[in-house]
């Protein structure tokens, strides 16, 4: 089920990671998502050529 892979918010009072780590995760997840999209796009392009 989709419920198991969607990350819930941190628990109240849970210790926060350092800002640089959170920013790195933010950028990393965004880039990984773009790369996943690009991979699908280039596979489609290769398939249709």
């Amino acid at each position: 089920m989709a419920a198991s892979i969607i990350e819930p918010p941190p628990e109240a009072g849970a210790p926060r990671e350092a800002l640089w780590k959170r920013l790195a995760w933010f950028a990393g997840l965004a880039i990984a998502s773009v790369l996943a999209t690009a991979t699908v796009a280039y596979l489609l392009k290769a398939l249709l050529r």
Binding site: A2, P8, P10, R16, L23, W25, I31, V34, T37
Partner: protein, 467 residues
């Protein structure tokens, strides 16, 4: 009716876009709804907003995926079925669609990953930023698509070269063609209404089962608030858009209102059966003079009829007339539902009126039907042109055979029926489960039978000893 490659290509594009448009029109509103929910959770710490976010983000992710899949198909259809249109119009249309793809993929797709998988990793503030960027991305996507379509409705800021192709000379005029502001506001409001009706219907469905489910009560009131405001605004935006159509696309307005003669004091046809063969309405119920007032704000205004255009330049009347009436009829029903809901909210009892909750459930799909009808009015009303007044649809089609388009159309119908039925059923199942967090399943009792035990599947009596 003769089914040639042109008609089949039009049917195929109409079929695929009718499927596609329901997803972005839902996700545009849902992305903003998620941003509001997360913002409210961050500021108030009310857990209902967090639970609603976690519930609707699943539905958003599935709808977004199905929207992308159905949208990619249309990009290819520009090449396979409408290659002549693509060749001559791509210097103008191409960059607008490219900006749409950039907005959709670089804002929506990338930050959707953070929304789904990064709440604990990036923390609440950066996660909220990702949700906001996805919401902005959906709106930016709508901006560019409506801009491209508005240019096709009323082209501006271009020259035509000797080979018939178009070149932009003024990009601001291309992007902001005269119909664009009205059509964009009409589309965005339609998306918000569609989402509010779906959220309201899903919440009402849950409240009919469990009137004390707090999260659904909150979502119901938020949905009522949205469409009680957006539905009357949509009537205003639609009226302004219609007046613009009367000025810039008079043949489309004549088809929308089933006007055959050009005259002052045009009536408003509530219902009619337009007949192209006799160039008249076989049957009609009309309010005298109201048509001129709606079209131009003056009962003595002259409104052009279809006979002012050559038969080959007229759009199909019957489908445009009735699609418009279904859209407006449902819009009026939304205004009524919004007023009813606002009255119940004022008395603080919307979740306890079972009649209202049933009406909400029944109106759940109304936004999708209205959006599809609106696009039928816009696109069929532009016929016989693909670029209004400049390029006929028949001139834009690819040199392909009837057999080839028949095969692709049938394939699309079969594949879409399977994929989107499964997707829609899954979304309905999620909605049926509701937003309340389920208590963790109790841990299974300690195993008393060893692996491989012959009667492992048989129910164990309470006093069974380990073998």
């Amino acid at each position: 009716m003769h089914f040639d490659a042109l008609l089949l290509s039009r049917l195929q594009f109409g079929f695929t876009i009718a499927f596609h448009i329901i997803f972005p029109s839902f996700t545009i509103g849902l992305a903003s709804f998620l941003a509001v929910l997360e913002g409210l959770w961050l500021t108030t710490k009310t857990t209902a907003f967090r639970d609603l976010y976690l519930f609707w983000v699943k539905i958003f992710a599935i709808s977004f995926g199905m929207g992308v899949v159905s949208g990619v198909v249309m990009s290819y259809e520009f090449g396979t079925n409408w290659s002549v249109f693509s060749t001559v119009a791509s210097p103008v249309i191409g960059p607008l669609l490219a900006f749409e793809v950039l907005a959709a993929f670089f804002l929506e797709s990338s930050f959707l990953g953070v929304m789904l998988f990064g709440w604990r990793r990036v923390g609440p503030s950066l996660h909220f930023l990702a949700t906001l960027l996805v919401a902005v991305g959906t709106l930016a996507s709508a901006f560019w698509i409506v801009s491209a379509n508005s240019w096709m409705q009323y082209p501006a800021g271009f020259v035509r070269l000797a080979d018939g192709s178009f070149r932009a000379t003024d990009w601001m005029a291309v992007i902001f063609s005269p119909t664009f502001p009205y059509r964009l506001s009409h589309m965005v409001l339609a998306a918000y209404l569609t989402t509010a009706l779906v959220v309201g219907a899903a919440s009402a469905w849950r409240l009919l089962k469990d009137p004390d489910e707090a999260e659904s009560g909150v979502a119901l009131k938020m949905a009522i608030g949205m469409f009680a405001i957006a539905a009357p605004l949509q009537l205003l935006a639609g009226d302004l858009s219609g007046k613009q159509v009367g000025k810039l696309q008079p043949a489309k307005l004549a088809a929308i209102e089933a006007y055959w003669e050009t005259r002052t004091q045009q009536p408003f046809h509530i219902i009619a059966i337009p007949d192209r063969a006799t160039e008249s309405n076989r049957f009609q119920v009309a309010v005298p003079k109201l048509g001129s007032w709606i079209a131009a704000g003056d009962v003595n205004a002259k409104v052009t009829g279809l006979k002012a255009f050559a038969p080959s330049d007229r759009p199909p009347v019957f489908i445009v007339f009735w699609a418009f009436r279904v859209m407006v009829g449902l819009g009026l029903a939304m205004i009524g539902l919004g007023a009813w809901g606002a009255f119940l909210c004022w008395r603080n009892t919307p979740e306890h009126s079972r009649l209202f909750l049933r009406a909400m459930v029944a109106m759940g799909p109304a936004g999708f039907v209205s959006v599809v009808c609106g696009w039928i009015v816009a696109e069929v009303g532009r016929q016989p042109y693909v670029i209004y007044g400049l390029l006929r649809t028949a001139q834009g089609v690819s040199p392909i055979s009837t057999g080839e388009v028949s095969v692709s159309l049938i394939t699309f119908m079969v594949v879409y029926a399977i994929i989107f039925s499964v997707g829609a059923l899954y979304i309905l199942r999620l909605m049926n489960s509701g937003p309340s967090p389920k208590p963790e399943a109790a841990a299974p009792p300690p195993r008393r039978r060893p692996p491989g035990y012959a009667l492992a599947a048989a129910p164990a009596p309470p006093d069974e000893a380990a073998p």
